[in-house]
């Protein structure tokens, strides 16, 4: 991990966030998916809790296996996303970091990341006997269009009504617009930071961005989040300016597609550093540079802009868009190759990967490799298998 001064700040932010969520008496708690329009919650002073983020923390601290086993014993299939299984297990055993999540008063789920979350949140809704609001964001088979935006905006209006009824006061538009602006500002700092990866050598690596992702996922829409990413941006910009790379010698620059392997972060980091290879950019971390990121003052209805930004995310795109985007990143970031993590948990992210690999390789004339792993389940991971494939890929790549 690259040493950033901002790191301790982030730990403090995340700890305070969880402490407040676990101890609050006044504020309602909503469990929410990572791609849901959280701005509506902050506008009504509701604390959003992200089970996905929590599940990742469990895996990164090597606690996911026992939690998943508890879920499997309770009858959940091994084929369900490991995030869901980890959270079910934490809920059943009240285990995991900080002994589980604070119970929800209601749930907000959006399908722009996957359809698993519908069933997942239905299970939680039944267990806690709380309402579930689903924002249905259709898959963009052929790009964004007005109908899809209108369809989503209607649901935003319903969400406002739901919240206002649930909380017992009118929806606070003024506060909502403030939150939108904060959200946008944080996302823009994050995006600019990620794009500093274009510098050769890259001042940070994707394993850093996976770690620094916490606040943009969980706190976007708050002032603290803006301050944090401004700080991080400045620190990274200074490194970029001075041409300080994230590893001592950078000979290869690659893209990482899909979620990280949370329980192998350190080992993979050492592996790539030894091979003089920087993971420069990831479609995953980039997603939060796009969501909520548009000019609020811009012409147009903020609701439509918000809808567009939540629909228009990588994991909600069809093949052609993904291919174009990957090829564009390969060029913009001067990459020598790309790694695709075929993630057993995350089907919508991994489906069609071999075709993507072939097409992107052809378009860019640079090699790519597909590795089979999982973001949270170490039981299906094999160091030797993954590393042999990665090593052979690096051997076959032209250096910069």
């Amino acid at each position: 991990m690259t040493e950033f001064k901002a790191f301790s700040k982030m730990k403090e932010l995340m700890t305070n966030y969880y402490i407040e969520a676990k101890t609050t008496k006044e504020k309602p708690i909503a469990w929410i998916t990572s791609g849901a329009p959280v701005e509506f919650l902050f506008a009504m002073d509701i604390i959003p809790i992200y089970p996905e983020n929590y599940a990742a923390m469990c895996a990164a601290s090597h606690q996911s296996v026992e939690l998943m086993e508890a879920a499997e014993q309770a009858g959940f299939s091994q084929d369900i996303c490991a995030y869901a299984r980890t959270d079910f297990g934490a809920d059943i055993t009240q285990g995991g970091p900080a002994a589980g999540l604070p119970p929800p008063h209601f749930l907000l789920c959006s399908t722009n990341i996957c359809k698993t979350v519908i069933k997942w949140y239905e299970v939680v809704a039944r267990k806690y006997n709380v309402p579930l609001f689903i924002v249905d964001t259709p898959f963009l088979h052929e790009g964004l269009n007005k109908d899809l935006i209108d369809y989503t905006v209607t649901q935003f209006r319903d969400l406002e009504d739901f919240l206002s009824e649930f909380i017992g006061r009118p929806f606070d538009r003024d506060r909502f617009y403030e939150v939108l602006a904060l959200s946008q500002e944080a996302a823009e700092h994050w995006r600019r930071m990620l794009y500093l990866g274009k510098t050769v050598p890259s001042p940070f690596n994707s394993l850093d961005s996976f770690i620094h992702l916490g606040p943009i996922v969980t706190l976007r829409g708050t002032k603290e989040c803006v301050d944090y990413y401004k700080l991080l941006y400045e620190e990274v910009a200074e490194r970029a300016e001075k041409k300080i790379g994230s590893i001592p010698e950078e000979r290869y620059r690659v893209l990482w597609d899909n979620l990280p392997v949370w329980f192998k972060m350190r080992r993979l980091e050492r592996f790539f550093e030894e091979k003089k290879c920087t993971l420069v950019v990831t479609t995953y971390a980039n997603s939060w540079g796009g969501m909520s990121n548009y000019q609020v003052e811009e012409e147009g209805d903020p609701y439509e802009l918000l809808a567009a930004s939540y629909l228009d995310v990588y994991i909600n795109w069809g093949f052609e868009e993904r291919i174009k985007y990957l090829a564009q990143l390969m060029d913009e970031f001067c990459l020598t190759g790309f790694v695709m993590h075929s993630n057993r948990s995350c089907k919508p992210y991994s489906v069609g990967m071999y075709r993507l690999q072939e097409e992107v390789s052809k378009l860019t004339a640079r090699p790519g490799v597909v590795i089979e792993a999982d973001q949270n389940d170490p039981r299906i991971y094999s160091d030797a298998q993954v590393e042999t494939r990665l090593e052979a890929f690096i051997e076959s790549m032209d250096s910069i």
């Binding site: 299906i380 052979a392 051997e395 076959s396």
Partner: protein
């Protein structure tokens, strides 16, 4: 005269090859890996030294490969099997374009470019379907020696199919075929066909070129080679000792001073 060695420690066998300054093979060894991969690598290396009447001091550089490449004590560098099979395959067949290597844990297809450079490769996914391990399990279910499986298949009279690609499920299919009184020869043929079919997909992904070479232990199974060749619609060349190609490639890389 300086010598160079390659040591390939895989799941089933530990192989070593010694070459001399001019790149000529001086000796080689294929030994079972057993449960101590480090020791197996050492033993294979020592066997080649003994055969050639040399000492470790006569060897200028050693490169390791195979799944246990990081645990080979004698090696100064290591390379993946993919790079090594490409080099070794090119040495034996200078016009090679496609290499199909099926070892114990992995099956792979490699597209080889000039000077043995890997242009593209495809490997089996996580599971053991289509690897040599699959054959090992089926041979033991049939109670037939690995080295007999191929010849036995050629005596097949009746066409059977094994529909599952999962090693565990396929094994129970084989067990049930045995209990139905099906002939071992027919079952052996069905097993070979299952492997060949899995591998065809890999070969297609990297491309079938004018010269296709098959390496790794499974190349010793004549039935698999024949069926695979029918499936890809192209003849397949097999070296005399397909299992040493990885170690040979590693020795060549050692001689080139590479394998950092």
């Amino acid at each position: 005269m300086g010598y160079y060695a390659g040591i390939d420690v895989g799941s089933l066998t530990a192989d070593a090859v010694l070459i001399d300054e001019d790149g000529k093979i001086a000796s080689y060894a294929v030994l079972p890996t057993g449960n101590n991969s480090q020791k197996a690598g050492t033993e294979a290396f020592e066997a080649t030294l003994a055969q050639a009447g040399l000492n470790e001091g006569d060897v200028a550089r050693v490169v390791s490969t195979g799944y246990s490449r990081a645990r080979v004590r004698e090696a100064q560098g290591s390379k993946t099997e993919i790079a090594c099979h490409a080099k070794g395959g090119l040495y034996l067949f200078p016009d090679v374009g496609t290499i199909i290597d099926i070892g114990g844990q992995d099956s792979k297809a490699i597209l080889v470019g000039r000077e043995g450079r890997v242009i593209n490769f495809a490997m089996n996914d996580k599971c053991a379907a289509g690897t040599g391990r699959f054959l090992e399990v089926m041979a033991s279910a049939l109670d037939v020696g690995l080295d007999k499986m191929g010849d036995l298949a050629f005596e097949s009279q009746e066409e059977l199919t094994i529909s599952s690609i999962c090693t565990v499920f396929a094994e129970s299919e084989v067990v049930s075929l045995i209990s139905q009184g099906k002939a071992p020869a027919d079952i052996s043929m069905a097993v070979s066909r299952a492997i060949a079919r899995r591998t065809t997909g890999l070969a297609a992904r990297v491309g079938v070129t004018d010269t296709v070479v098959m390496t790794g232990g499974v190349a010793k199974n004549r039935a698999v080679v024949k069926l695979l060749s029918e499936d890809i619609g192209h003849s397949i060349k097999v070296p005399d000792e397909p299992q040493i190609v990885g170690a040979l490639g590693a020795a060549i890389i050692a001689r080139e001073g590479d394998g950092g």
